[in-house]
Structures are given as C-alpha cells and as structure tokens.
Symmetry: C2
C-alpha cells in the first residue's frame, strides 16, 4: 500500500494523515492513492539510490522540533546523493511512530518536509505509516539522477589529487555535546551548534557539479577521518591532511579555544553531512569556480599520497588521533 496503514492509527487519524502526506506527493506518487509509485528516469541517466533511517533517542532527541527532525531525515539522505554527484529527484518515506506522536506533531513534521521539498525541488513518491510501542523510527529512500556511468565512487582517488571538503567540520559533533549538557559555550555559539546537529546542511547544489570534477568522493557522516579512511581504502591510496586547513565555523573555533581536547570530536564525531572529495590538481581553478557558482564553501585540506593517512600539524609533523572513529589507523 502506498498510503498510511489504516489499521494502525484509526480511521479519523488515518484520513487526516493521508491528507497531510498527499499534499507532498508529486505526479509520480499518484497522490499516494495507489499501491506503488512510477518513476520514469530521464534518458541518458542512471538512478542513484540511498536509504538511511533515524530513530528517536539515537539520532534526534524526543523534544526536538518535528520539522527539524523531518529535515534531518531528508538531508542525511540528500547528503549521500550529493557526495555521489547526483541531483536529488524524489523520495519514499516510512514512519513508525511511537506513542507520543499525535496529529499535531505529524502536521509539523510534514511542514518540515514541504519546506525542504521546495528548497531541493524533490517530491514524495510513497511509503507508509505504522504505529509502534517504542521509539519512533523514520526511514527514507532518496533517489537522484546522474549522467550514465558518472556516479562518483569512493574508489577513484589518484595519487597527487587534491583533497577537498565542503562546508565546515565539527559543528554537529559539538552541537550534540551541547544538547546533552557536556559542553556549554556562550550565545550564539550554543544555539548555532545545536541547530547544525538538528538540521544538517549538505552541499546539494554542489553535488550536481561534482560528477564532472571529482575522482572520488564520500559523504562525511561517520567523522572526517573515518570517512577519509573509507575513501582511501576503497581507492587503495593514502592521504596527507593539514589540520590547520580543515574548515571550522567560528562556533567550533570558540569551542576549541575553550577546550583544545575537542579536536578529537571535531575530526571523529561525525554527523557533518558534508562532501569529502578528490580532484586532479590541474582542475583547482574549476573547483573554485564551481564553489563560487553554487555558493558552497569548498576548502582544500590536503592531497592524496601513496599510502598511510597522515594528519599534519603546522610544522608538518604527524598528529596522533586515537578515537574509535579513527580506529583503522
């Protein structure tokens, strides 16, 4: 079935929810009034598919705003598409709602989806809705398009490539510490970091340009160093990363001034939802131009080496990082 599960939520609530979700459906979703959706890929394109779930108490907190939760769910998946050079097109959604979720909550959740659908030009194709006696679990399948054969893989980095990352690193990891009370900064840093944890900012517009520029790419979700490791392992190469070059927001800089130990969290904490990629050094000007055109911050942080991953301080000496996010080294 394409619509909410009637038996689980009761007739009145069912119809209300059906109306809320039907408003989000595009033409392929047939107003969610059929058993399945139709997707007609554009000629000359491959589809790129990803599916990530988030759960209450694990990826978001029960009292986070429902609209923010919706946008996080969507954006963690759009981040995967961006890192693969794909332009997002549509999504399917499965909601298993716990006892605390009422129709007002769902209405706010749908408003968050609607906001991001407009921002990213995507549509809801289908899915379903059930009730569970436990934490809410939200699962989303995102579908994007890329020119045939052009999906950017983790494998493909070449020795001598420049290594780049979009956006800034560490905001969400420190934001999580703020939400749990383990870190307190002054305003507005506290609020800004929490907001980045709640609602990631994946470089979706840059992703559509990436396929033409990048040799290899990965979504930064497990932590910068862990995902760098994933990309290097898949490519059979190493990398040298300059710690001072890693792009930090003013809020993360404030946190690091207060406690330099937070560097480990910044590098290994994850939830960044930025794109880490490599490109040929002779295309640096094109990378800069693409960043400018899409208004996405892109920073060169190092280069691909023959073997080993080294994080270098401002004297060029290796920095030791020892958290499980970096356990492979």
């Amino acid at each position: 079935m394409a619509g909410p599960d009637e038996s689980a939520v009761g007739p009145g609530e069912f119809e209300l929810i059906e109306r809320l979700f039907a408003k989000l459906a595009g033409p392929g979703g047939l107003s969610l009034k059929d058993d399945a959706a139709i997707l007609k890929p554009r000629s000359g394109c491959d589809l790129v598919l990803t599916k990530d779930a988030i759960a209450e108490g694990r990826h978001y907190l029960p009292d986070d705003p429902p609209g923010d939760i919706a946008r996080k769910l969507l954006r963690v998946n759009l981040s995967d598409l961006a890192a693969k050079g794909a332009r997002p097109r549509a999504y399917l959604l499965s909601c298993a709602w716990g006892p605390g979720i009422d129709v007002g909550w769902i209405e706010a959740f749908c408003a968050g989806l609607a906001e991001d659908q407009a921002a990213y030009h995507i549509e809801l194709l289908g899915g379903d809705t059930i009730r569970v006696d436990g934490p809410t679990v939200l699962s989303l399948t995102a579908i994007g398009e890329v020119a045939a054969g052009q999906m950017v893989r983790r494998a493909g980095a070449r020795i001598g490539d420049d290594v780049y990352v979009t956006g800034t690193i560490g905001d969400a990891a420190l934001g999580l510490l703020v939400t749990t009370g383990a870190l307190a900064l002054a305003s507005p840093a506290n609020e800004a970091l929490v907001q980045r944890y709640r609602v990631p900012e994946p470089p979706v517009s840059f992703g559509a340009i990436l396929a033409d520029l990048a040799h290899a790419s990965v979504d930064v979700s497990d932590g910068l160093l862990a995902d760098l490791t994933h990309m290097c392992e898949a490519s059979g190469v190493g990398a040298e990363i300059e710690q001072d070059a890693i792009p930090l927001s003013p809020f993360v800089q404030e946190g690091l001034r207060q406690s330099p130990d937070l560097w480990e969290r910044v590098l290994c904490g994850g939830d960044d939802y930025q794109t880490l990629f490599t490109a040929s050094a002779d295309r640096a000007a094109e990378v800069i131009a693409a960043a400018r055109k899409t208004a996405i911050q892109v920073t060169k942080i190092g280069r691909v080496a023959a073997e080993k991953i080294n994080l270098l301080d401002d004297s060029g000496n290796p920095v030791i990082v020892s958290r499980e996010g970096f356990r492979h080294f």
Copy 2:
C-alpha cells in the same frame, strides 16, 4: 552511508553484519561499500517503487522465525509490485533492531532474504542498520520494472469487466487468530494457516503478465472487500461479487465449517497479499492461459457494475458485511 551504522552496533558486530549483508548485494549495490547504489533502468521501462515497513508485535510476533520475518518483509512489498504488473528487480533495506536481536538472529534473517532473492531474481542495493531501545522496525523499498506507461493502476476498471483474484483469501487472517489463540483447528490446518500469516505468497510471476491483461488492479492487504472498495472508488464504478466464488483453501473451509462467523474475517481480515484485478470479459481465455502458464491460481469472483459494491449469496441476494474493513459501505 550504504552499510550498517557502525556507531550503533559496535565494531565487531558491525563487521560481521557487514559481511552478512554484503553477500546479498548485487552489482548495483557495489557490495554495500559506497554511499549509494546505482540503478540503470532498462530502455523503454518505467520503474515502479513501493515501500512498506513491518514492526515486531504488530506485523509479526517476537518469536517468529527470523527467516520468515525477512521473507514477509520482502513479500509484502513484492505483492505491491505484482499488483501493478511490475517485475521485481531490486530492493533497499533499513533495519532498526531492538535489544533482543543478536547476530545469530540477523544471520537467520539474512538467510531468509537470500532464499527469496534466489526465488524472485532480485538483489539488495543498499540500506542501513541501527539499534533502537524498543520494538524492531524493518522497512523495505522494492523496485520493479514495467513497460513504459503500462503500470496497472487502481483506477481503470470498466463496467462489464470480470473481477478476478489470485490465490486464496482469508488464510492469513485466520492464521493470525490461530497465533493469538483465538482460533484452534485440527492439524495440519492450524500450522498451514499460521504459515500463510507468517510468509505470504504474492503472485509475483503472474504480475509480470498482468500489465497486458488488466484494466485495474490492487494488492489485497487491507482485506478483500476494503481493497475492492479502493479499486472501485478509484475507478468510479461498483461491483457484484459472488461470495461462493471467492477462492478458499481447504484450511479456511475447515475454519468456516467450525464457525461460519469467520466469514467476516475472511473477507475483511487482510494480509492476503494476493492481486485483485479486472479484465475485459472477452479476454477470459487469455487470463486462464496466463494463470496456467505461471502456475498461479486465478479465480473469477464477479463483475464490475455501474455503482455500489454488492456481495451476493448463492441466491443472488446481497450479504451484509459490517466490519470496519468494509466501513465505506
């Protein structure tokens, strides 16, 4: 990310799970070693997508065999594809495992997936794995293909069409009563009905032929009469169904001999995962030939009428059905 969520399950378990799922991945899934999967649709085809979730304690019981749960999850989605005339091709999977799920359980779950992948010629493309402190929630996105523009919709039934249903009706609904102790029949009826509740038998091979024959079609999941209503409402028509023509297994017949009140459950209980469709009366011979070719039981149970849905007894008199599964009439 395409693989299991490392942070949630611990490094050792993570690697084991990664190996279990990687064995299920086809070429498009890139061994689950990238952020997303690639799907290259065949020329001249539309993709058909559906996404249904099942939860512990709601759609299956905690002590059901894990392999059966895996096959149910897959098959409730394949049922939607079959009803739309689509040939299944691939799937993405999201697992939110509760505290009771250990690696042995997951191994048996993956064995069930492997069995059905071989039976239905489909492959795993990607997904993710998380842990939750509550009931397990399993969500699956199934992707099929149909000739461009040929997906069979709920709308499209024409007055005078024959109404058909595949398989038998009511087995799963009575099977659920057996599992909860509300019904007890003799062996082997008890076991057979429970098995049909645990592992549906959607008419997947017939689905691939359906697009050429059917005017309208719906997956029977909410109950025969409820889904007939959905199809008729979408088509703007009514139907006359002969109760005596509804195909029943010997086990359901045994249940009805013991308690004729169970008719309501048979007609409205749901979980049948069969296909209800209409086709022009002058193509009856082709429907019969297709059923024979695919070895799928297909039964004519009535005809499409101008308005109202009537269930008729053997004297042609309307039968009153009054459960919420049939609340629209």
